[in-house]
Assembly symmetry: C2
Homo-oligomer: 242 residues x 2
Amino acid sequence: MENRYFETLKAKDASLPEQVAEQISQLIVERRLESGAKLPNEFELAAQLNVGRGTVREAVKLLVSRNVLVIRRGLGTYIASRPGQVDDPLGFAYYPDQLRLSMDLLEVRANLEPWVAGTAAQRATQENMDALREMCLLVERDILEGRDHLAHDVEFHVRIAQCTQNLVVPELIPIITYAVGLFGKLTGNSLRSETIIDHRAIADAICAHDPDRAEQAMRRHMELNRAELERVAREQRGEIGR
Amino acid sequence: MENRYFETLKAKDASLPEQVAEQISQLIVERRLESGAKLPNEFELAAQLNVGRGTVREAVKLLVSRNVLVIRRGLGTYIASRPGQVDDPLGFAYYPDQLRLSMDLLEVRANLEPWVAGTAAQRATQENMDALREMCLLVERDILEGRDHLAHDVEFHVRIAQCTQNLVVPELIPIITYAVGLFGKLTGNSLRSETIIDHRAIADAICAHDPDRAEQAMRRHMELNRAELERVAREQRGEIGR
C-alpha cells in the first residue's frame, strides 16, 4: 500500500526547508530506515535532493524538533526512537480546564480499556504475560515502598495493550492516561491498596486467557478511578460535607 | 487543578531555549491565552523571563515548530489555532506496514465509534445536529458529483464525536481515521453508495436521540469498512479469485 501522507503535505505552500524536510521523511519511509538507523550525511542529501547544504541543515533541524531525527554530536544524524511521536501530542497541557479534561479522558478510557483487557486475554503470548506480571510487581513495589507509582502504572496499562497485538492501541494508552499524572497527587494514597488488588485481578484474568473476567476487572478498575476523580472534583468545587 | 505538565518537562536536562520555551508555554496556560491571542513581544518576554532577546527568539521558533505559536509577519506572534497539536501525532506515516496499520486502526474504530455514536444520540444539542446534517450533505454531494469525499468523511465522524460533549473524543477521531486517506484510493468507488446510506442512518438515529439505533448503524458502517479493507488486503496478497 502506497504511503500518500507526505504527498498531501507537499500540496500546502511550504518553505524550501519544509519541503526538503518532507522529502527526507519520504526517503526515511521508502528506504525503511527504522529507529537508530543512520541518515545519509549532509553532502549526500544535498546532492540527492538537489538543494544546498544549508537547506538540508535547516530541514534536519525541523525534523529534530518533530522527534523524527536525533543528532549525535560527532557521530551523525539518526532516526529517533519513536519517529514523529511527541510528548502530549494532543496539546492537553494547553487545555484551560484540566479537571474536566481528566473526567473526559476517564470516560474514554472506561469505554476503551475493558475491550483492550478482554482482547489482551484472547491474544497474549507467553512473552506478553511475563512482561505484564513484571510490571504488576513493579507497581506493587512502588506502592508498598511509598514511592510514586504513576510511571509504572501507565506502563502496566501499555503492556496490557501490547497483549492485543494491535499496533495502535499501545500508542493510544499513554495519550488517554495523560490525566493520571495530573490528578495523581490529589487523589494521593487513597487508591493505593485498591490499585494493587485491581491490577492483580486484571493480570490474573489476562494470564488465564479469560476475556470476560479481564473485561470485568478492568471495568471495576475504571469505575474506581472515576468515583475517586468525582470525589476530588466535588472537593474542588467546595462541596465537601454537604 | 494545577497544571503540572510543564514542571515535569523542566526536570529533564534541556537547553536554555528549551527551558524558555517551556516557561512561555506555562505563561500561555496561566494567562489562559487562547487560539488567536497575541503573545507579549520579545522585549517584554525577555525582561519578564530574565533572558536575552536572542534566547526568546530561539524559544519562539521551537514553539512555532511545535504548532504552539504562529508568527504573522509585521504583526507579531500569536497562539496557534490548536496549540500543541501536530498532524499525524503518532507518526503513523513512518510505520513500514501501512496495510496492517490500517487494519489495526479499523479494529480500534470498530470498538470506539459505536459507543461514540450512541453517546452522541444521548447528548447532541440542536446546534450539533444541524452541523452533523450539514456535513452529511457535503459528503453526499462530493460522492454524487464524483469528487474525493475523504476530508468531509473524516469531518462527519468528528462532528458525531462533538455531539458527545466530551473534549477528548473529537481529537481522537482524526488520529484513528488516519488510514481512511491511505486506503481510500484503493477501495475506490465501491463503497460510495453504501457510505451515503450508512451515514444517513447514523445521522438520523443521532438526531432522533436513539442511542441503540445510532450504535447499531455505526457498527454496520465499521463492519462494511472492515470487509472492504480485507478484500483489498487479499487483493494485495494476490489471493484474488482463489
